[in-house]
């Protein structure tokens, strides 16, 4: 409630509200009207259509009482709960506080289960059917949007089922990817080598995986590759997991394996983002999730 730009608004709310409530009491009591039982109520004095008149009948008892109860309730409410400007209410309730209480309760409910899983190492956990079911649900919730509901990825989002890993496929490496995120940056080389240079390097890259290529251009490209690309991708093009530089000698292409795609990758660069999930999911949930993802790339019987 400390969101007002100036203190003026705080009082702008408090004063009319309080005056309004307080003023309603004399208003309602002075207009109750009285009537002696057995006699007619007094008339209001207006006459329409010759003989149509209005009685000043008293407010019904039930109506009056409910009105007063409402006023009293309103006062009690405004004392206990926020409503009068910046005043937070004597009970200190806030919607943020309610949310935090719910998160705490969820932690109390589910925390022990995750703590149990956190004590088991990922390789073992990846064979545990219940943990895998939980991991599957976590995956469906948080990962399937980018990596696909079958975990085989899409353009720009790695396939988690194969044995090909940009940053390493060991359990701890997978876990780090999820916890801290990854950022695979391929610099744009167009300014440096130009369109022709990009084409030449592309031909050379195609040759690395044994695909059809222009031999002459590839020879030129190899020189460029050695000076510019080998630093990250390695002289043999096998990649570098420490940097997340892909292996160029295989047939797996993160952004597309056609010649056009590779030219685009080299010219314009790429910026792969894996978000960090540490604050979002917490280590314990990531532990189970990592076990699930690890299990996807392994082929063994689950008990």
């Amino acid at each position: 409630m400390a969101d007002f730009v100036s203190g003026f608004w705080n009082w702008f709310i408090i004063i009319p509200t309080v005056i309004g409530i307080v003023a309603l009491f004399p208003l309602i009591f002075s207009n109750r009207g009285t009537k002696v039982p057995g006699e007619e109520a007094e008339k209001m004095g207006h006459i329409w259509d010759g003989d149509l008149e209005e009685y000043n009948n008293p407010l019904p008892g039930w109506w009056l009482n409910m009105f007063i109860i409402t006023l009293v309730f309103g006062i009690v409410y405004l004392v206990l709960y926020p409503g009068l400007g910046n005043f937070t209410g004597m009970l200190g309730w806030s919607s943020k506080g309610q949310y935090e209480a719910q998160v705490e309760k969820a932690e109390a409910d589910y925390g022990p289960l995750y703590k149990k899983y956190a004590a088991v190492n990922i390789e073992t956990l990846a064979k545990h059917p219940d943990a895998l079911k939980t991991g599957e649900r976590l995956y469906a919730n948080y990962c399937s949007g980018c990596h696909g509901s079958d975990a085989r990825g899409a353009k720009g989002f790695p396939n988690l089922r194969d044995q090909n890993w940009l940053y390493g496929g060991l359990p701890d490496q997978i876990k780090t990817s999820i916890v801290a995120g990854r950022n695979g940056v391929m610099p744009p080389w167009e300014a440096v080598i130009g369109a022709d240079g990009a084409r030449d390097v592309t031909e050379y890259v195609l040759s690395l995986s044994g695909r059809e290529h222009d031999v002459e251009a590839a020879t030129k490209g190899k020189v460029q590759f050695g000076s510019l690309c080998a630093a990250c991708h390695g002289a043999d093009g096998k990649g570098n997991q420490a940097l997340g530089a892909p292996n160029l000698t295989d047939r797996i292409w993160q952004y597309g394996g056609s010649k056009e795609s590779i030219i685009e990758t080299i010219s314009l660069g790429r910026n792969g983002q894996m978000p960090a999930h540490k604050d979002f999911l917490g280590e314990d949930r990531i532990h189970v999730l990592a076990a699930y993802v690890y299990s996807l790339s392994q082929e063994y019987e689950k008990d």
Binding site: I252, W253, G257, S258
Partner: protein, 478 residues
């Protein structure tokens, strides 16, 4: 039966008698304090019919939750599980349309039976009537017949009155709680509910509803009785819109009965210039809503035919023809020919039967399996290493049947497309849902357009079930 002489105020009627006793000087009050009605016990054909109705309906209500079917309760409305079990039939949320059909059938039956014979529902089947009957029976057994009840109410509060009233309310409360318990037993398995009750482990909502329905039963059947019919129920007010001149209503034959008056049994009333009505007021005394049917059909009349039985009994003892108060039609009373079977009845009946057959056939022909195809949306399509285009689908398969099934998934009419699925056969338990991931793969050269309609087909392994579901395959611009 000896004619008992009673003071007028003893039979507790509506405004008619009350008005005459009020001093004319007082202003007319708009609010009238309720006079308790002590309906006199009645015997006869219609009383027996009503009793049968009570026994059958109450029997169904109290006994049904105890029936079992396979391993579960036969009739169970499992709200958290989103399934309604009715013997061998299981209704899923997708079947909610049958509830609408049921309500339409109920409305049509209402029109049909009301046009036929007036307030048959009110007098014979309505829960308010049925439970009030039972509560009145309990009251009669504990407090005694009508005269005793009136005397007891007039007596000062002493030990005896306290004991009797306590016993009666105790019995009422016990039955009410049992009613509430039975009601909740339709939603939570009644045996488990009983166990929880005995071990005092009932959940908060179950506790609330048991007491709520118990309290409602006790209040409505014990205290409110005819006030529900007179003040609360809308049926009373719109009945006149559903009647016509050929509807069977309970009516006093004015032509035959008037002028009314007492006479010796041996005398022929016609010679005295009297009608058949001897003004014994039996019809008024047995009326549970406290009206005088001789004044004509009133909105308070619930069509219970107690007055018919009572008057027939008196007519019998006097040797007159029965039926002074009887089921008849306005037309018949006016001397015109009665048409019970008329276009309106035939049309209602025809629509009712047609709809009933349609609903039954529809339920019998339900497919016990449903498949939903959910296409991956974030990345529209995926290119494989070889340059083929893939779409990923999550297939949610619901086995709505009573038994386990194995299913095989195929793709229809797409020779260029390949279906890839982890498991060739998916086995799903009875009443369970399974998610299966499948991929469709095609060479982009074979794609004719950006978006292609495809059809998945699911067969059960034994061949009895086959469902098809369309989906879209999205690829790059061709």
């Amino acid at each position: 039966m000896e004619t008992e002489s009673l003071a007028k105020s003893d039979y507790g009627t509506t405004s008619q008698v009350a008005k005459h006793s009020r001093h004319e000087d007082l202003e007319q009050a708009l609010y009238e304090k309720r006079q308790k009605i002590y309906p006199r016990q009645v015997h006869g054909l219609f009383a027996r019919l009503r009793l049968s109705g009570v026994v059958v309906l109450m029997g169904i209500y109290y006994l049904t939750p105890w029936f079992m079917w396979d391993d579960r309760q036969a009739i169970l409305f499992d709200l958290p599980g989103r399934k309604f079990y009715i013997f061998g039939l299981i209704f899923w949320p997708q079947d909610l349309i049958y509830l609408s059909a049921l309500l339409i059938l109920a409305a049509l039956s209402l029109f049909f039976f009301t046009a036929l014979a007036g307030r048959l529902w009110c007098g014979y089947a309505c829960p308010q009537t049925v439970w009030t009957e039972v509560f009145l029976w309990i009251e009669r057994k504990i407090e005694g017949d009508r005269m005793r009840q009136i005397k007891l109410d007039k007596a000062p509060w002493n030990g005896r009155k306290l004991a009797i009233k306590g016993a009666k309310h105790g019995a009422w409360i016990a039955l009410s709680l049992w009613t509430g318990y039975t009601f909740v037993g339709y939603f939570t398995p009644i045996r488990d509910l009983g166990e929880s009750l005995l071990t005092l482990g009932l959940g908060p909502w179950e506790t609330f509803w048991v007491f709520f329905y118990g309290f409602a039963t006790y209040g409505n059947a014990g205290w409110l009785r005819e006030q529900v019919c007179i003040y609360m129920c809308p049926y009373a007010r719109f009945q006149s819109a559903m009647f016509d001149n050929d509807t069977l209503i309970i009516s006093y034959d004015t032509a035959r009965g008037e002028p009314r008056g007492s006479r010796k049994r041996s005398v022929d009333p016609r010679q005295l210039g009297l009608g058949d009505c001897i003004d014994c007021t039996m019809c008024v005394q047995v009326c549970p809503t406290g009206i005088d049917i001789r004044n004509g059909l009133q909105y308070q009349c619930i069509g219970c035919a107690a007055c018919v039985d009572a008057c027939d009994d008196v007519m019998d003892r006097l040797g007159y023809e029965p039926g002074l108060v009887r089921y008849t039609t306005e037309n018949a009373l006016d001397g015109k020919a009665a048409h019970i079977i008329r276009p309106r009845m035939l049309i209602y009946a025809a629509i009712l039967i047609t709809l009933l057959i349609a609903v039954v056939v529809s339920i019998a022909a339900r497919t016990p399996t449903k498949m939903d195809v959910i296409r991956d949306r974030n990345a529209l399509f995926r290119e494989t290493g070889e340059g083929l285009v893939e779409n990923v689908y999550t297939l949610r398969i619901l086995n709505k049947d009573n038994q386990m099934h194995s299913y095989v998934l195929t793709l229809e009419d797409q020779p260029d497309m390949e279906l890839l699925i982890e498991q060739p056969e998916v086995t799903i338990e009875a009443g369970a849902v399974a998610d299966v991931t499948a991929r469709l793969r095609i060479d982009p050269v074979d794609l004719k357009s950006r978006s292609t309609e495809v059809q998945f087909r699911l067969h059960s392994a034994d061949g009895s079930i086959s469902v098809a579901e369309p989906a879209r395959f999205v690829g790059p611009l061709p």
